[in-house]
């Protein structure tokens, strides 16, 4: 047995090898192939002149192992019958087999389309080397044009480096960082339609799931010399026994697995209201607490954003303990939790179950109930007393307020909220310089709605299958879709987009991100020019990162702008940002208008109406008409009468863009915003 640590992230390293390498080596190994698939367990080391690795991680190369002659299949056969032997004649230790056993389980769980039992051979189309992002279909092409290439191991000599990684790599993190560029360009599975997840995210997920299972399982040596793998008292000998089948519907073949786990989707919320600018420090505190949780539970946390965490945990893991740092600061957590057999556990199973219950879908409910599948909604809230003697804290309203007098102002703020205030002034110029200089500001916030994202990914994957495959089992493929890895990739791109947004405004002192490191929120001194630049920057970045994503009321990503007098309370901006049913863009001009826009509407209005200088006087006339009659009929008539003179405005109305939409946008982008 090798003493080196088993690194699950290395198991798919073969997916980073260029096809040319195999072709080049064929001469040496003729008539046989130098190796099969993306694993090196059958690699012709001697003929090709390489040394076989002997580390613990080497045995990860057997995760798809099967032998047609003996009808052996690693996913089905008993661990005690895994008679593996490498090219040097070494056999894996029981510990090696145990690692491999958990790796296979983790690999199944982390794949975007279940491959536990589903024998899918692809759509008949040739494999795609580069990743296809559903929200940015030309991504790989664009990266290729920049000179990038998916493969990390491009020629025969690179295989030496590859085997050296398997032999000597120190950790999964080191491996992921070293090959990040290639891993992000390579799909987890190159066959259409499974080429939609990055190998980077897949490997990251496999590593996390593997380590959670490793922490909670043990290898049990039985008296008869055989071994079992035990998870919370449940012993198994085969992968299939542990995870069960992957079907969630049908009357027969329920295929219950013995091992269950939980996927918890956790939204971080707070009751606080931002009375003063310094109360925005709460957002920094939230980031700090999330960062603590991510560091402490780096395997359990599948991914985290500024207000959302997905956890992969065992049935008995205490979530309150995990979220203690947030609960201590009066945040509360809304959790949607799914408990299921490993074979079917995924991030949208909760929605499937709830839908099946609502529609009383017996074929699905029969399987899910028999497999003891549960969906819970839970709130984790801080312990609060039954009564509070006044005064109550004006910020969190969950603790007793302490009188704080500053000049003529008396406030009642609890010690915790005061501590957050005392973290410092996040944006000093706002109250000192900006307030004196100008009278209007625009607060803005980017948002990513995880529910909408799940729905969009499901819908889009279904369409992708339909467009690319003519499969009898397309429905199965769709049913077994697991969007978790895609969600992670999407969130990564979203974060990059918001960071990129701020780079565009570097050095501009009229626009600020008031909370350091919190890229979703910003504020600028309102001017038509800057408002236009903010909107156009967002449109252009969205076009670059998410050109194929919905950009209407179903858009997972949105930008909200709230323009008011600088003295207007920040909590009211926040209330606007937290509103449900957001569109792609939401603009509120305090006491003037509140409007939603799709990307299509915005582009049409900005490019065809606001960009056309000759129409400005006409638009002013329309604004006056709107003020006078408060009706769109008069505007429509006026536009119709002037359709030849101002065809762009007539065209917009014909396209279904309401006059109020372009008039309101015109007001803020051209400066006539007095209502």
């Amino acid at each position: 047995m090798s003493t080196k640590k088993f690194i699950p992230e290395l198991h798919d390293i073969g997916k980073l090898v260029d096809g040319k390498v195999r072709d080049n080596l064929k001469i040496k190994t003729k008539p046989e192939k130098p190796w099969e698939g993306h694993v090196f367990c059958n690699f012709k080391f001697k003929k090709c002149g390489f040394s076989q690795p002997t580390s613990a991680s080497w045995w990860g190369q057997y995760h798809h192992y099967s032998d047609k002659k003996s009808h052996f299949k690693i996913t089905i056969d008993n661990i005690n019958n895994w008679n593996l032997k490498d090219t040097l004649g070494n056999v894996p230790s029981q510990e090696d087999k145990y690692n491999l056993f958990l790796l296979i389980l983790a690999d199944h769980m982390a794949s975007s389309v279940s491959r536990a039992t589903f024998n899918f051979k692809g759509c008949g189309k040739s494999n795609q080397d580069g990743i296809l992002k559903l929200w940015n279909r030309n991504f790989y092409q664009i990266e290729t044009n920049k000179g990038k290439y998916w493969a990390a191991f491009k020629d025969t000599n690179d295989l030496k480096i590859l085997f050296d990684e398997i032999e000597n790599c120190k950790s999964g993190k080191v491996f992921l960082n070293k090959y990040k560029d290639s891993l992000l360009l390579t799909p987890e599975d190159k066959s259409i339609p499974k080429n939609v997840t990055s190998l980077y995210t897949h490997l990251k997920l496999v590593g996390k799931i593997y380590r959670v299972l490793r922490k909670n399982t043990k290898l049990v040596k039985e008296r008869n010399g055989s071994v079992s793998v035990e998870y919370f008292g449940k012993k198994v000998n085969t992968i299939k026994e542990a995870e069960g089948g992957n079907r969630t519907t049908g009357n027969t073949n329920i295929d219950k697995g013995k091992w269950q786990a939980r996927l918890a989707k956790c939204r971080i919320k707070f009751p606080h209201s931002f009375v003063r600018l310094r109360d925005l420090n709460l957002l920094s505190k939230k980031e700090e607490c999330i960062s603590n949780i991510v560091n402490r539970y780096e395997d359990e946390v599948i991914f985290a954003s500024s207000d959302f965490i997905i956890l992969f945990v065992t049935p008995n893991q205490d979530l309150k303990g995990i979220f203690k740092p947030l609960l201590d600061w009066n945040f509360y957590i809304e959790i949607n939790e799914t408990l299921a057999d490993l074979g079917i556990l995924n991030s949208i199973l909760d929605k499937k179950i709830l839908k099946a219950r609502e529609s009383n879908d017996k074929t699905r409910l029969n399987v899910l109930t028999s497999r003891n599948t549960k969906v819970y909604k839970k709130y984790l809230i801080p312990d609060i007393p039954e009564e509070i003697t006044p005064p109550i804290c004006e910020i969190c309203q969950r603790r007793r307020g302490v009188e704080r007098v500053k000049g003529t102002v008396t406030e009642y703020v609890c010690d915790k909220c005061q501590e957050i205030r005392d973290m410092g002034e996040p944006f000093k110029e706002y109250a000192t310089v900006w307030e004196k200089e100008g009278d209007k500001v625009c607060w803005f916030k980017f948002s990513l709605d995880q529910d909408k994202l799940e729905t969009w990914l499901q819908k889009t994957f279904k369409k992708y299958i339909k467009d690319n495959c003519n499969l009898k089992n397309a429905q199965d493929l769709y049913d077994e879709f697991r969007p978790l890895a895609l969600q992670i990739d999407f969130n990564k791109d979203y974060k990059e987009m918001t960071e990129e947004f701020w780079k565009t405004f570097e050095g501009n002192n009229d626009i600020k991100s008031p909370v350091a490191g919190y890229y979703e929120v910003g504020v600028f001194k309102y001017s038509p020019e800057l408002t236009k630049k903010v909107i156009e920057t967002f449109l252009s970045l969205f076009e670059r990162y998410f050109p194929d994503c919905d950009s209407d009321k179903n858009s997972p990503i949105s930008l909200s702008l709230s323009i008011t007098n600088i003295k207007y309370p920040i909590r009211e901006h926040w209330r606007f940002f937290e509103k449900d049913s957001k569109y792609f863009m939401n603009i509120r001009y305090h006491k003037v208008f509140d409007e939603n826009y799709t990307k299509h509407e915005l582009e049409n209005i900005i490019n065809k109406i606001i960009g056309v200088e000759t129409s400005s006087s006409f638009l002013h006339r329309l604004i006056l008409l709107k003020k006078k009659f408060r009706s769109e009929i008069h505007i429509n008539i006026e536009v119709f009468n002037n359709r030849k003179k101002y065809p762009e405005i007539y065209e917009a109305i014909c396209k279904g863009i309401k006059p109020s939409k372009f008039l309101n946008l015109y007001r803020i982008l051209k400066g006539d915003a007095n209502g």
Binding site: V275, R276, Y379, E387, T389, R575
Partner: protein
Amino acid sequence: MGSGEFIELYIETDSVVIGERPKGGIFRPCQSVIPSSTVEGALRHYFGLKVPAVGFFEKDTYEFDEFTYSVNDKFLNISKIPLTTCYLRPKKSYRKIGVRVYIPNNNTVFPKSELQGAEFQMGALKSKGFGMSKIIKIEVIKSEIKQGLLKAKLSEEEIKVFGIELVSPIYGYLFKPDKFSVGGIYRRALFPDSLVRAPEILLKEVTYYDE
């Protein structure tokens, strides 16, 4: 699952201020959920009714607006700095805001004929004319108990009387005045979005979670 019986009051209201606790500065926010303490206070004050009650604004019949006023210091005979308060007013196409108030019907005598058409005020800034309300219709309704997300804000001690069972609550506080209405205390209260089993009229959404 069982059901609960309620007296439903359909009320029409002019502009109304349901103040939120946080103040801080010169802007007073307003909420669109009527806490049980507000409805109960109004029914007790105007009709002497000591009954548990919750109320909801009819969706889409209201919108937010702002009202600026100045508090007068009678002693010094001066006006203090102007305050702005948020309030709800009827939405463009509506003449009044629709409100439905639910009182558990537990066989106590209810003065239906006295309340029919009665007028009263509810919420804050009554002296400025806010909260004028009229009871339009009173009827007894039944509501099936289902699992779902609560849309009401009500004191913890009233949970039982409304036939609510907690699954996973969200708590906040509601102010409970003392018997002299001089002081009072903040009592823990069940807040909207709590997962409960309750009469459907109290739910914003029926759900199907395991318990």
